[in-house]
């Protein structure tokens, strides 16, 4: 669409164009009119207006929620939803930028090889040796004379624009860069939210990049094996970007592995899989190099694998990236890169950088110290960089910084701050300009690098000048296809790889997580049904003290207390109590507590979960976490149960019956059997007027009331519910809600998982159910319950064993003084 076709700016865009926070270069507008390549987007903004934009924003939030997109560490508390603005940033001139990025990646790759082998650039002073040697990312343990240097296979960079719109590289990220998973997930969300615009725009597709990434990793591995095994090594739940890692692993078709899943034996890396070891050839590494090997790098790391560095050094496992690439992240190198480019490549750097200084050099230090309030002050911290904004610091803070710089000048750099471009963000107050950063991702292909078209965009949480953390507010980045790329798609050069990763038995951690998922889903369901029936009975009988109904209610409430392990407060009414044990996610045992555990555990094995599960979980979490204090409990629980049934349907209908499914199902079966036994134990003793209502309620909770009625009506079963309960819920192998049914299903699961011994035990417990005594049934039920607890513990011992605890041992050096004289 040409500029001429753009209609007069709407009020929205007119107001945006006059916004005081607009940067010298704006991604949408050139003055008061759109750029040529953003005309269609601007037209779209005009067309849908403020109401449409807010609706798009709400939909983006909802879709992110439905994908389970989160950011932040920890299971529930510190995690927040990934925040996406619906308006994409559209880039022109991508081809040139990509060429520049590829050039930079080639340069960094050569530089990496040099500093870990001949060290020419240091010997000739092209880079002051101290700039490399003082960096914690320069791993001397990764440098063996005569052995291959660490390899740069994946690369990323943060870029921003200068006032005239030219892109500048602000930081290189070559350690274990995060965000390629988020970038794809962003595209999925925005292409749905603005589907008409997305369809009308001919964009470079993202998929090819991930195919290239998988192909490169498999290529590296084929040196070792015809069917190389690739895993993504993750720190797991401790990582802020757990979603990114899980999403990427499932895009690539590689398994997620935590340190506990891997083991070094005989100088090679193995995946612990169902009691056997399977060799790992390639590791896509998302654990920081400094934490990757407690033997050779840092002894206190729990997310690393002892011996990994040695295996990598000897070429027995390939890493992307190798240990030691973190030195390339150092801002101390930036001032020297243009010179290095001319020497190593014989070329000038195509993408400029803001002017920067490394404080170890006398002249640079003086300059930085004299200009502190005008500079971005960067501290080198391990393989990361901590930025201080000189212009936001007080006099005493600047003085403190000056002292720290003088004490350890090698750890500090200064950089001229870039103005950065602005990009519009949808807010309730209209479009607001926010400063924009672009993170690009590259992958080695032969001797060159291929890039994800565009990358991961992010903007600040407010109009203030800075861009916050990765999880602040994301932007999808669109690269128009253009003529050249349409004729030569990036993936046409090599056949699309069929990702035939050999099937594996499960790592113990994975099997344990799957079983936990099955258990949490079942717990949420059982508890929701129990509370729903109790609440129903309360509505009918709470006001009628002394009646049979009231007696029954007391028995049911006692069961809720027992099964949830949550007593009521003294001053709390029964409906308030039921409300609280459903919705208070901070209360261990509550329904919403179980749902959050279900979600957190599922994130850890994202590579194994069906993609449809996330939207179901999202709905479930919304139902339970966004309900107000005065929400009606019945429709809420009904809604929650519907989601849980939808989840059960996905598991039943779309999961292959392999070991993964077996453990997931086993968790649910064991939990349902235990729940039913407990419920029967707490309600069996009930005598007198309320007993029949209690029995009916139990049948209702266990979804068997219809069966009871039908059998009573046709003379196939007893008329009284009291007499039906044990038969239907304990021993009836045809009832999918009975304990016997669960145990036979459990035996099937365990057989599928290859454990005949535990399968046999489950079958034996099931067979014993038919012979229950006629008196003191609660005691007998409690015995059965304990048998199941032991069975669960034994399954865990046999299948989920973590590795033996690590200890580091390191004697001091010491010679008694004087004896040498």
């Amino acid at each position: 669409m040409s500029l001429a076709a753009f209609e007069l700016p709407s009020e929205l865009i007119a107001a945006y164009s006059k916004h005081p926070a607009l940067a010298p270069y704006d991604e949408l507008l050139n003055g008061s009119v759109p750029h040529g390549h953003t005309a269609r987007l601007a037209q779209n903004i005009n067309d849908i207006g403020m109401a449409g934009l807010l609706a798009a924003k709400a939909e983006a939030v909802q879709l992110a929620d439905e994908e389970g997109m989160v950011f932040g560490a920890g299971a529930a508390k510190d995690t927040r939803l990934w925040n996406i603005d619906p308006l994409p940033v559209i880039l022109d001139g991508w081809d040139a930028l990509e060429r520049g990025l590829a050039q930079r990646a080639r340069l960094l790759r050569l530089l990496l090889t040099d500093v870990y082998s001949s060290q020419h650039v240091l010997k000739e002073g092209l880079i002051p040796p101290a700039a490399v040697l003082s960096n914690a990312g320069y791993l001397r343990s990764a440098f063996t004379p005569g052995a291959p240097a660490p390899a740069l296979r994946v690369t990323a960079a943060d870029l921003g624009r200068a006032a005239d719109g030219t892109w500048h590289v602000i930081a290189d990220l070559n350690q274990a860069p995060a965000g390629a998973g988020y970038a794809m997930a962003n595209r999925r969300v925005v292409s749905q939210v603005l589907s008409a615009l997305h369809r009308a725009s001919d964009l470079r597709r993202l998929r090819g990049f991930y195919q290239q990434l998988a192909a490169t990793l498999l290529d590296v591995g084929t040196m070792a094996s015809e069917t190389p095994r690739v895993v993504l090594l993750t720190p797991g739940t401790r990582s802020d970007t757990e979603f990114d890692q899980g999403y990427l692993a499932s895009l690539l078709g590689f398994s997620l592995a935590e340190a506990d899943d891997l083991v070094v034996r005989d100088g090679r890396v193995w995946l612990r899989a169902g009691g056997k070891y399977e060799q790992v050839d390639v590791i896509l590494r998302r654990v920081d190099a400094l934490d990757a090997d407690p033997l050779d790098i840092r002894g206190d790391s729990t997310v690393g694998v002892p011996g990994l560095a040695e295996c990598a050094q000897n070429g027995r496992v390939a890493l992307a990236n190798s240990l030691g690439t973190g030195v390339l992240n150092s801002p101390a190198l930036l001032p020297y890169l243009p010179g290095i480019a001319r020497t190593l490549l014989g070329e000038d750097l195509q993408i400029p950088m803001p002017e920067s200084w490394w404080c170890f050099e006398q002249a640079s230090r003086s300059h930085v110290l004299a200009n502190l309030p005008r500079l971005l002050i960067r501290q080198i911290h391990g393989t990361a960089t901590v930025d201080y904004l000189g212009w936001e610091l007080t006099g005493s803070e600047l003085e403190g910084l000056r002292k720290r710089i003088l004490a350890h000048p090698e750890m500090w750099c200064g950089m001229v701050p870039l103005p950065l471009s602005s990009a519009p963000v949808v807010t309730r107050r209209g479009l607001e300009p926010r400063r924009f950063l672009l993170r690009t991702f590259g992958i080695l292909d032969g001797e060159g690098f291929k890039f994800l078209p565009g990358g991961l965009g992010r903007v600040g949480e407010s109009s203030a000048k800075t861009v916050g953390s990765l999880g602040a507010l994301a932007k999808d980045v669109w690269v128009p296809a253009g003529k050249t790329s349409a004729q030569a798609p990036t993936t046409s050069l090599r056949p699309i790889v069929h990702l035939t990763q050999p099937a594996v038995a499960l790592a113990p951690r994975v099997a344990g997580t799957l079983m936990a998922i099955g258990r949490f889903a079942e717990r949420a369901e059982g508890k929701a049904r129990l509370i729903k029936v109790a609440d129903n009975v309360a509505a009918d009988h709470l006001a009628h003290l002394g009646t049979a109904g009231y007696e029954a209610l007391k028995v049911l409430l006692a069961s809720v207390h027992q099964i949830l392990g949550a007593p009521a407060y003294l001053e709390e009414s029964e409906p308030e109590y039921l409300h609280r044990v459903t919705l208070d996610s901070s209360l261990p045992g509550s329904v919403s507590y179980e749902v959050l555990r279900l979600f957190a555990n599922s994130q850890q094995v994202r590579d194994l979960m069906s993609v449809d599960t996330w939207s179901v979980f999202a709905r479930l979490r919304r139902t339970l976490t966004q309900a107000g204090a005065d929400a009606e409990l019945q429709p809420l629980l009904e809604d929650g149960l519907e989601s849980l049934m939808a989840y059960a349907g996905i598991v039943a209908q779309s999961m292959v019956r392999d070991a993964s499914w077996a453990f997931l199902d086993a968790g649910g079966r064991l939990e349902r059997a235990r729940f039913t036994l407990l419920l029967l134990e707490y309600t069996q003793d009930c005598q007198g007027a309320g007993a029949e209502l209690v029995a009916e309620s139990v049948l209702r909770i266990c979804e068997s009331i219809i069966t009871h009625r039908r059998r009573a009506a046709t003379g196939l079963g007893p008329v009284e519910a009291r007499e039906s309960v044990l038969r239907l819920l304990l021993e009836d192998r045809a009832n999918p809600r009975s304990v016997a049914f669960q145990l036979h299903a459990l035996a099937f699961d365990l057989t599928l998982a290859g454990d005949a011994i535990m399968a046999k035990r489950a079958g034996q417990i099931a067979d014993g159910l038919a012979d229950h005594p006629q008196t003191d049934i609660p005691t007998w039920l409690a015995q059965q319950y304990r048998q199941l607890v032991t069975l669960g513990e034994d399954i865990a011992k046999r299948h989920f064993s973590r590795q033996v605890t690590r200890h580091t041992a390191e004697p001091l050096q010491g010679n008694l003084r004087g004896t040498g004289k």
Partner: protein
Amino acid sequence: MNAFGSRRYEVKHATRYTYGDLVDYCYNRAYIFARETPYQHVIAQQIQTSPPARYLHTKTDYFGNLATYIELDGGTPALEVTSVNTVEVNRRPPDLETLSHYTLATAIREAERQLTGIEFAEFTLPSPLVRLSSLLRHYAESLIGADLGLPAALVELMSRIYGDFNYRQGMTSVRTTLDEVLQTKAGVCQDFAHLAIGVLRSLQLPARYVSGYIETTPPKGKPKLQGADATHAWLSVYTPTGWLDLDPTNNQFADSRYIVTAWGRDFSDVSPLRGVVLTESETSELSVEVNVTSLPRPK
């Protein structure tokens, strides 16, 4: 007593891990092979382990040391890693006469001129266990005046550490910082070596950490006890005549009784034996036994 000239030794160095429960597996990084130097020739060397190593691989590391990676199978509560090195050491006394022509300032200039930029930076920058804190800088300034002659400065450095600090085991660990040593005024040889290195680096004189062994002499009239020796650590400083080994723990320049295994920036680069042991045991015991035996001098 000084002992320069040719000497021959057999050094046996055994490290034993003992746990209260079975060990499942054990990974080791060992710097227990003596290295070849202009003044030290390695005649024979080997490593033995109990149980026998399941996997063992020795490489030359970044600093030219021999670094050995060892995997040991468990199944027992005790593991042992032993090295035996037979070496010939022939050190000459330091040429203090030549060095007396240099002050600290001129020695620094000479080091910058003679060493490669890489070596100079490597051994003057702070390192993981030698942080150049303000406390250390103050200590360094109080110790050595810049106008002091080089030999006098080095002698002063050794004797001040020797006099001001108490040799005491159990006060420090492999992670102890120099500030802690400066405050407690106590430590073992590796702390004193780090301290001297820190002082020299804060003055911009290159200094490196040396790990090895020393032949000890029993008190007069007593027989030499088995295992009475230990691993030892000292430092090298770069002088206009080359690297010179000082031992602040014993307040002397290294002579031919000093046997070198490895050098690096500090202990963390050349720790004699670092192990990652997999066991559920609650208790552990680590014992090190070193025997330096003097062999007859070759004809």
